[in-house]
Symmetry: D2
Subunit: 328 residues, 4 copies
């Protein structure tokens, strides 16, 4: 970084997640703390291309720490996937005097940032914001903890009715490529079985487990299913399959859907967002670039964007085992 | 009623709803207050047929006022639809010395109770427990208020992500025959449009409304759809229809499902349950039978079961108008 | 009303309550629906005196239906208690072309509105917004239902720890002059005893009740106490008194305080606010003035402001009885 | 450990915390998984002395993972502080064939366990359950995460009314010796200032901060105060002090109290409880004793009980700095 940073831009991109507003607030206030300017960029990279900017002082982020969603809006930008789009975006940043970027989002967001950095030697710093927790280089992404609480609260409600009627519920939760939500929320909600993308349990094992459960007198059950589970059937097909093979089960399906992305962030996500925002801005001011700030072993830590993109966030083997034991 | 009532049976039947436990507690404690015995009957009419009974003293219902579901379990009983099944049930009641019944449930539950009363001149009293609020003779059924809060909390979360992405969501809520949940939760959640069984809005009007909304700069929208809406398309078909006709809209679907039936009851439902339980038991003790206890104009009131079954709970025209005005 | 109303002002005054924002939104949108203008007045009557006004179109109230507090802020204005203050306020309204007022608040707010109406023959309409439910002419004030849910959720948490330790808790809830919150939330939370301003239970009865409770094996208890209870001791004094007289009880105190006033409104309060806002504006447009819009027997109804101020909202005797029976 | 463990006892002791039930469930099911017996001991060490035991199979802990409090009850036992008391307890364990203990609680609980282990060479394993997070050897105690969410939800509600009235609130949270709750919830809730036991901010700094805040146009504020803060004034005295020195502030106080200890555990606490329960039982089965199982750098880890008791859980300096920056 040859030149001192005097103005930082911040944007949210990709799927929104609870805690993004707390992160925006942290970036804005950390800029103010260091007497540099901050500019909010609307609708992610698309707003960068369209020059949709807004100066943000510390009061502009008052009373947003607890809000779900993102006040800067989010979008997926096809234009930013073109060299031309990025060139226009870069010019907008230059014209606005913005010296560096903090981007809040997931894999796709970081990929865009890294390309942008490579093309223009432009300082960028990433903050992982996605409920899926599928980012390498951080134990927790923003919104993940909140989503887990949303899911267990929903399943707690479903269990009320499952128990009253002795029913089996297949509950589909988010996580196309990663089973973190399903595994943790499944343990948290006391699920009978958990189906995730990382593990092919197999339909036989599922039936076996349900038969065992029934034999032991447990007549109502919750099976948590990750969107991207490897069993090769979606929740509606699973329902049919079980009804055919275990007709004594009264089966229902619930797809939790997009509500998992919303809601007021948990305290954990608000504090994490505050910490990551400080680190992102201060790392840029120290001349660092092209990193993601994350949480590793309870400490804020930097991971090169390239690694964050290429690496994958593994399921904890210990948790798989805990999950098995809990359904004894 | 020739004979004094010394023991009352209580059961829950049909779909469960929040507040059923508070009603059971109220029935049990009102019996204790009047120094008569109370017996819990498990799994609705099926448990009556199977003699699945349990004596319940005032301490047996400690710490259940706030629990969703029903500790007595619920079921739909095919056997009770037969004269033979009901005869067996009646004998079980006689043998157990149970002199009268309080049944908590919906239309189907009341129909069973009325037939039973007619066949055996057996004292019965109904308490309306269903989230759909589709019972004539009460402004509120047990669980309805709780379900409304569950739905608006879910839609509040969905709106976070809808706003962040400028998306249109079709949110399906419960209510096969009645639009009370959709209409009230739709107003409460600030929905752009509400589709209910009682009103055929028509697809044209929906498109028109969405076009107007878009023209006015409102780029994200929530449309609340009752299960039994009259528009002739389910939420997934609605999504396709809108995407074809208004391709600028980014449409998503969320089916809230069974979680609407669970959860800790609202204060309103707990108080209502307590009031209805007292009235049900005391009405039986006064020699009344074959009524439903409900809430009419804020007062606890009796409606003959026959009317409760045949009548229908109308949508409030004023609310339809309020809903229109709110989307101005 | 000789002159047609073309512009309506809306303000919130006195203690805030959940649902005020939903009422503001309803007033603004009903104005838009009828093609008249709407002006928000900040900080209640104080903002009227200071001319702190803001034009409000239908989009200005987007996404506020679910927010606690009031976006127009609230205040108690000493200046408005003077004839001079009110004269200045009236001139500001005239200069701004505001033809009529909707005021959202409690007793004090309505008193101010009535005087203002009398002095200047100025059209006013009141909407009852206070958590205490202490207004004559409406079965429910805005925010009351939400506050009840907040209170029972808090007591549910307190009961967890009360039960784990066999402790007695005195929980103080809001309600200086009215015991509605204490009585309903007490029933809803399964309280052992409820102390309210309307009823002097007496310390002897309290001790007796606790002794009976203990004898029956109920070792943990919740006593809900209204701020303005008539027993002559606050919760801390009650704790001391019980510890002296029943030393076997391990007593704790919890004063729920101002959190009862905040939080996202319940569905009931949002719908009620929407209905009352429509009725307030349309009543003004019909030439009516000096009324409060409220809910009576489930219908929106008008009560002369004078009666709303002078009348009192009575405690339901049936509920007192239900409360007794529930603690059997 | 000369002898194979065939039966494990589990108890909860000291202040209860959300997640204790999930931990009990995990201990019981892990025992079942390894085909050993499990015995629940009621009311902590007191129940050990009184032989208040109950056999617990895997079904006995069904549907408790989401419940606050502890189904085994908790207590502080004076008798267990005597050698005689512990001797009786040891005999009860022997007679019941209980070979080892899992104790769930805080410092006091662990001290008792360590003494017991020393006196009788009896295998013990501790699980940290307390909302205060003041235990050395674990980054998170059971219930801490839940308490943080409870606190921020309460402050979110208080902020609604604080903002509506431009008021300053002192909010007292739990934490007699440790400021973890105050610091994290304060950051999470966007508090203006945070007073904790570990740091003597001084009254001058508080006034200065409030003056600065006021000058910057921020008219409503939340100050979070830990029970054991070092400033030498409780929240009521702080209110008086600020009112005297900054009379333009309208100050209110809220003491959150015991509700912080209750409530359904967060997903984090449920999963943590499940993990720690597995580790506690399996460590005993491996012949280990006198350790606490905790979470260190995201991994389940053992710390000798002696260290857990003597060590102290430090406030994170980085968080103090983040807190400062957030109030810019």
């Amino acid at each position: 970084m040859s030149k001192a940073i005097k103005k930082i831009g911040v944007l949210t991109s990709g799927g929104d997640s609870p805690g993004m507003n707390a992160a925006i607030r942290s970036v804005v206030r950390t800029c103010a703390y260091h007497n540099i300017e901050c500019v909010g960029i609307y609708r992610g990279y698309q707003g960068m291309i369209e020059g949709d900017f807004k100066e943000m002082g510390p009061r502009s982020v008052k009373n947003i720490v607890h809000l779900g969603g993102t006040i800067l809006k989010s979008a997926r930008s096809k234009d930013f996937m073109t060299a031309e789009g990025r060139k226009i975006a870069h010019e907008h940043l230059k014209n606005a005097g913005i010296d560096a970027l903090v981007v809040i989002g997931g894999d796709g967001t970081f990929t865009g940032a890294e390309i942008f950095n490579n093309e223009f030697n432009y300082p960028v710093m990433g903050i992982p914001g996605t409920i899926d927790n599928d980012i390498f280089g951080t134990s927790h992404t923003l919104g993940y903890d909140t989503a887990l609480n949303t899911v267990v609260e929903c399943i707690d409600k479903i269990r009320d009715t499952a128990n009253s009627h002795n029913r089996l519920f297949f509950v589909e939760v988010m996580g196309r490529d990663a089973g973190h939500i399903a595994l943790n929320a499944g343990i948290g909600a006391g699920a009978e079985e958990i189906l995730i993308p990382e593990e092919d349990l197999g339909l036989d094992r599922l039936l076996e487990s349900l038969e065992k459960s029934k034999a032991s007198g447990k007549l109502s059950s919750i099976v948590v299913v990750s969107e991207g589970d490897k069993i090769g059937k979606n929740v509606f097909e699973l329902k049919e399959y079980v009804e055919e093979n275990l007709p004594e089960y009264d089966v229902r399906v619930s797809v939790l859907g997009h509500m998992q992305r919303g809601g007021s962030p948990s305290c954990f996500d608000r504090v994490l967002a505050s910490r990551l925002g400080v680190k992102a801005v201060e790392s840029l001011l120290e001349g660092k670039s092209n990193y993601m700030v994350g949480l590793l072993q309870d400490k804020v830590a930097l991971t090169p964007l390239e690694q964050a993109i290429k690496g994958s966030s593994k399921i904890d083997e210990e948790l798989l085992r805990v999950s098995d034991i809990m359904t004894t």
